[in-house]
Symmetry: C2
Subunit: 535 residues, 2 copies
Amino acid sequence: MNTRNRPGRHTGAQSGASRSPYGLGTAAGLLQARPRPAALAPQGLASDPGVALNPACSTDAGRPCRHPLTNAVENQRLLAHELAVKGSFDAIVPVLKRIAGLQHEVDFTERAQAIAREDLGFELPAQILADAWVAGLDMRTLYGECVMRTLRLMAKQAQLSNPQQDTDEAVAFFLDSGYHAVDISPCSDGRLKGLVRYILRLPDGAVRSKKSYAGAMFDVDANVKRWIETELMRYREGRPVTADAGTRYLKVAVYHWSSSEPTHEGCAAHGSNVTAAAEAGLNRLIEFRRAIENSFCCGASVDTLLIGVDTDTDAIKLHVPDAAGETNLYRFIDNIELYRASVNDDASSARLKVYRAIQAASATTGWGAGNGEPHEGMRRLIASLLINNLSQIEYVCGNWGGRYPDIGHAERFISVGDGFEEFQLRNLVYFAHLHTVEEGAPDMDVGIKIFSNLNVRHGLPVPVAIHFRYDSRVPGCRERTVERCRRVRAAIETRYGELSRPGLLVCAMTVQDKRPGSSIESVEESGASAARGEP
Amino acid sequence: MNTRNRPGRHTGAQSGASRSPYGLGTAAGLLQARPRPAALAPQGLASDPGVALNPACSTDAGRPCRHPLTNAVENQRLLAHELAVKGSFDAIVPVLKRIAGLQHEVDFTERAQAIAREDLGFELPAQILADAWVAGLDMRTLYGECVMRTLRLMAKQAQLSNPQQDTDEAVAFFLDSGYHAVDISPCSDGRLKGLVRYILRLPDGAVRSKKSYAGAMFDVDANVKRWIETELMRYREGRPVTADAGTRYLKVAVYHWSSSEPTHEGCAAHGSNVTAAAEAGLNRLIEFRRAIENSFCCGASVDTLLIGVDTDTDAIKLHVPDAAGETNLYRFIDNIELYRASVNDDASSARLKVYRAIQAASATTGWGAGNGEPHEGMRRLIASLLINNLSQIEYVCGNWGGRYPDIGHAERFISVGDGFEEFQLRNLVYFAHLHTVEEGAPDMDVGIKIFSNLNVRHGLPVPVAIHFRYDSRVPGCRERTVERCRRVRAAIETRYGELSRPGLLVCAMTVQDKRPGSSIESVEESGASAARGEP
């Protein structure tokens, strides 16, 4: 893929909040990051809106951040990935603008295809170009097609450049802390989409499930079913370890807020109220744990963990459970403070500070008081998560001056269904995990609302990628999954008919085998896509 | 409940197909059984449409049937139950007709309530009666309310008169044949609703799941999940027996046809084509078995069994699996033939004929050829099912001359969701098992089509009882289940808006704890029902 023509490329140097290293804000004003009003700047920092101080490194401004426990090589690798993927999506609008200006030229089709091949990496649907002379280029359909083709192209590249790692390593990571399964439910918000790979830096495949729900309001009953499946594997097949190995099941809920615009850019499902978001997540965790304890005998239980993410800085707030596994909204470690406190230390002092922070949190008095320290495995896991997140704080610090330029929504498409493993990037995709629109409507509504703002008011359609995974070992499962794609598509087009009828909502359907590394297969709609020359 | 005023009560004697022993056909022509056209009479029988011969006892006409292996006491008990429940529903239309004639009398409300109390067993919604002077009685709403109140009254009586039997007996029944779990998927068709209690005579609670789907097209993926839950109970909690007890999981699919009107009154989902219905059921069984075998290691598998039911006579056609567990559409036992062949024998000769029939079926050659006899447990189970069904053949034989008067649809309401354990009666209810209308629409559509014919064309609404069960051990599950009721109701009212808007579709919502014997709880719709004076 060629990126020559894209403005605002990454300079490698630390940049202020007002600068965009990977072209964000260049796409026709569409995905532009809103400037942060001075009145909402975090307390204790200079309030000049143009050059907000770096929230992580404010104690030692001017010098590039370098924490002894961070992984600089991985940060470079992740940055390259983020720039490549987002750059590809952000190239679409400028390319379409250029092509729009050529549509009355004699050799329009040839020139348009040459530009698309060069700048987007694929050809445009020939029929749409050929029909342009009649009533002008059908820009909405063209835009939708470009988003979906970019998506498939990026997914293919992600699979090639980042092949599935050995799952042994992934399993070992959690088994080291005594967990045979880890199930994370973040909010659907696109700014959390980099949670596993970027914010928590967990190995691919380590987390068995990361189904998103608006406001992290995960489905307790569906989670009980998933717990049952995990248990049976341990008992029946000894996977990943046998049932008598003394390991545990961990359920994590992740809420979020925006430190610079706390009342506007927090969790939409909880009205940007961070306390409400945290409380709701905690309640679901408690309900899930009780459901397991009440429904199964022989001491069945699960460990739970509540994590908050500041979507401006990607720093986590980790709620440390007590010895009884109970979590408290007022007993936590704020990792950005830990970063600041240890950035100038050597590695072993910094590591010691991480463990001391866990001890200090466990010793919280007053509202945050608990019943002693968590068990050893949980302590080890918490320490790993905190240390992993230090790298991400530095990633944001080094590349964006400690705070993303796009603190608000800037997602490129809505992902519906099972979601793509291939796209774990902040603000790339709003993900609504659902099996039916009837049940998932609240999550979908939030996504449509976000994109009404991002796309529709600029005349561009909402791109919806419907994606479900099937089990090729189960006869007929692929056919039923394709049927589900079509059913969900029909339900979306019915529910949002006012967008869909004038072409302001475009759906694409794909399915994928559950086995790791399987390719993404387009679902044809009555053979029409084939005629349009799918890549 | 008072039944004095109901015409056409059961006479106890054998009656011809044109006579209705429990009032069927008396309710304003609404639920009238269609007369069977002579041209469609089964081959080999006299074709006088008025007095069709008894298909079971035609060899020995005139003498009341008495097979040595049938349970006459149970037949009497089941008849009383059927007459009481159906009689209550069938009383509604005559009562409303009488009340309609009184609406301009001075003491209308008092007289109407007296009639309702006496003949229906409950009072009518006072507000509807009080408002009658304005624009006449709102008969559609009144009818809907009466159906739902009758439903709740009957459910309560069923629980009192037929308290949950000791589940030990139920479990022992199948464990005797080596099965720790039996899961039956019949067609949604109301004529199969008596399958477990009447047609197969299985003890209450013996069958863990009897979720109906149009055309018996059960959900393979959902069934795999249910299998997983069953397995975990065996491995983790040793219920009902431990995993090393050598027992099996049995999945049964049940299709149906009408022997007297095979091309019109068969399975609607398969266009009344019995071969298509049987083949489709068999394919689902094969898919389910393969899904288990492919997804789990260590020799995981299930036994499967395909059963057909002639909904005119309730006689079963049992497809005998071979030694490898494979089923064949052409290898079966027709139980009505077995009844005829053994009705004049003594008990031990009759029992011997049952086992010989299994041997003979296993020895089928040609298209029906298989690979030897099924294993001993399956043989024992098949024999039990055949013998149980002999009682039901005699039940139809003794009470309706061997063939129901209502060979077509005559359901009283549509049951949506998890269904009522309390109503296991032929042609009482069309049951669409679903969690969302989005997925369950095909099943719902068939039900609505049936009731458009039965009710709407006579100006009466379609009564839809939305019923879901919740797990009181899981926190928040009841609230989520109530929410599901409301969501499904809204989806039904949207999908069938043309019926719903003019009041030709009435929904009632109820929930019930999963524990056996739990009461049915009405779901209030914004407090309106309470104001109407719910019973």
